[in-house]
Symmetry: C2
Subunit: 398 residues, 2 copies
């Protein structure tokens, strides 16, 4: 399936992104709104951090019912560690949206991203909601995607179209990321809309299947946000027959691919990232083993700085694999970078290092570790650790 990294209208949804002045950056969009033409089926996953922002608590509760009509998302403040006042603020913000789009408050999911420990100005928020409601249009997903950016350098969008249940169906989504990214349930903020008719339980299953290969298979810095939210919404405007069997599988696959494309874009635009690296661990005894080894490699600062320095540093890769606590057989393990074998049968191929270093100059490459102990595998997409990551995070207050 062809995934296009661009926005698309999704029948049944309208979008807006406006400048509400929440970030004190004149002209910068900071309030986004997604409004469905009627209550739509919805499913969501949220951060597993023990610290959850107020809007996460509110949205998590509301999404459980399987139905939503609007999503409101702001940047500039995470509305996290804001106590009861923060919960009230999230509910009041959603209420303003409910009034604007004409639905009950319980059908509005609020989301926030930005600085922790600070609230935003409700009056400004309400004024922004009025502007956003007035601006709602089916072709403004990009405006919404821009409004939720923090240290992201560009908006991230992905679209798929396919034929399902007798109808032409669109799946389009957007996400924001950049830092504090090692979701264990979702990513910072990601929204995927479809005009297909899909019931909430099927949506939940679809999300559960899409996650392991997309938002849960990436890491930028190993840090997990307090505001991670992923919502999947289906308007049913495409008029397809109820999805079942092969059609449902095709829908699930399409959502997974759109999610994976958005997740890759998050990593590509990770704070300071200059390289996108897909780490695949094969030949493990269990998927959990493979996943643990892949994450240790992906999150090792020594491995990440070696990626940045174009250094095919086998020793660091091996060190990181070893600290996963998974049994390894050093005489069997095989490590390849960009298809070039760095080590096998207990020996380092020193004559391959120059070619591997040259391969690492490219902006994207793969690293494969074959444990040769079993049949399970796992894949994690990550980026390097550069001067710019330090610069961005030593200077920016999140």
């Amino acid at each position: 399936m062809k995934i296009r990294l661009e926005p698309a209208p999704v029948r049944g949804f309208r979008f807006a992104g406006v400048c509400a002045g929440l970030r004190n950056e004149p002209g910068r969009k900071d309030l986004g709104l997604i409004a469905a033409d009627w209550p739509v089926a919805a499913a969501g996953v949220f951060t597993s951090n023990r610290v959850k922002a107020a809007p996460v608590i509110v949205s998590q509760e509301r999404i459980r019912r399987g139905q939503i009509q609007a999503v409101t998302a702001n940047s500039g403040s995470a509305n996290c560690f804001t106590g009861k006042a923060g919960l009230k603020l999230a509910r009041d913000s959603a209420a303003a949206v409910a009034k604007g789009v004409g639905c009950v408050p319980e059908l509005v999911a609020p989301c926030s991203t930005g600085v922790i420990g600070r609230v935003y100005d409700l009056a400004k928020y309400r004024a922004g909601v009025s502007d956003a409601v007035a601006a709602l249009a089916s072709d403004r997903l990009e405006d919404f995607a821009r409004a939720i950016m923090t240290t992201d350098t560009h908006p991230k969008m992905a679209t798929a179209t396919l034929k399902l249940g007798g109808a032409e169906v669109t799946i389009a989504g957007c996400a924001k990321g950049a830092g504090m990214i090692e979701p264990k349930m979702a990513t910072m903020l990601a929204f995927v809309m479809t005009d297909a008719a899909v019931k909430p339980p099927a949506l939940r299953r679809t999300l559960a299947r899409a996650l392991p290969q997309s938002f849960n298979a990436i890491t930028i810095d190993g840090d997990m946000s307090t505001n991670d939210t992923l919502l999947l919404m289906a308007s049913g405007a495409a008029g397809n027959r109820a999805l079942a069997g092969r059609d449902l599988l095709a829908f699930e696959a399409a959502v997974a691919e759109v999610s994976a494309a958005l997740a890759r874009e998050l990593v590509r635009d990770g704070e300071g990232a200059t390289k996108l690296v897909t780490i695949e661990v094969r030949g493990a005894r269990t998927h959990a083993d493979a996943d643990r080894v892949a994450r240790q490699i992906a999150n090792s600062p020594l491995v990440k700085t070696a990626f940045f320095g174009c250094d095919p540093n086998f020793g660091r890769i091996l060190m990181a694999a070893g600290k996963a606590g998974v049994a390894l057989d050093l005489d069997r393990i095989e490590v390849s970078l960009g298809g070039i074998k760095l080590a096998s049968r207990g020996a380092l191929h020193t004559n391959a290092l120059d070619a591997a270093a040259a391969r690492m100059k490219e902006s994207e490459f793969g690293l494969t570790v074959d444990l040769k102990l079993g049949k399970a595998s796992a894949r994690i997409v990550t980026c390097d650790l550069s001067f710019e990551y330090v610069k961005v995070n030593a200077e920016y207050t999140t």
Copy 2:
């Protein structure tokens, strides 16, 4: 007790550090030797990484017997992922030392640090051992400490003297670290010698008690070396009565303090480190909870870059605490930096941020997180994440 960050003679031991040409850096010391005048009591702890270097495997086996007469340690090659040839190399290296100092090979513990996947030249090593044996002297601990340095910017040594069992006793040690530092059993390489008479089981207990507060309570980058080794050796030359009761406790405390001083020096000289931060988590339900929260904070790249940027970024500290998976009560948690309260009772003290930022300009400060849920606590010493860490590790092949 007063710990001096300097070397001292320890009766019963002689030291040497020579340039054996193993690193191809003319004039740079790369081979260190510790020789006891007779077989001495010894205890050791080693890396818990599943990938263990050849010398670790050999030394671990030998130290188990509780007796050692010499330690040989080289930089420039970790002798790790070197298969059977590496094991033979470690044994042959130790055998050369045994011949030089006049003991059986089983009484020699070999150690290595440096690049993984490469062996060193045995002929050069043997020639270096001859030079080292000729150079052995009781006042050359600093030469030894220099020979084991990799990205360390200076040698690390610590000394304590105390009266025990009717005798004046010296405890002196040295260590090397700099990167790949989150030991879970020991640190890169650390050696502590004493002239006290202590039996191997008491030495083992002493090490086990010293570890949690010293080498196991530090992290530079969360990466765990394949070569971590900590050895404690007691010559008995002080002629003290057998240590028991209060004397044994005093000895244990002194070893713990020397170890903690060395561990702090490792962090202070961590790759690119500009700040030493002591993270204390209090009020946890269990020590394991406190330790988990402290480590998540200490290893979070977002927290570490905020340290570097002198940014009292409460949100990142909270995020890192939350991802430890330990239950938190946001209405109770209290966070202080350098004695300045950043947050308490569910509120961020924004008016304290300027003072905290000023405090962070100092090279050393504390961060205290009180969970207010129980009585357990844990302390981890860490450093910041700076441009220099990225530079060192993007350019240096370990």
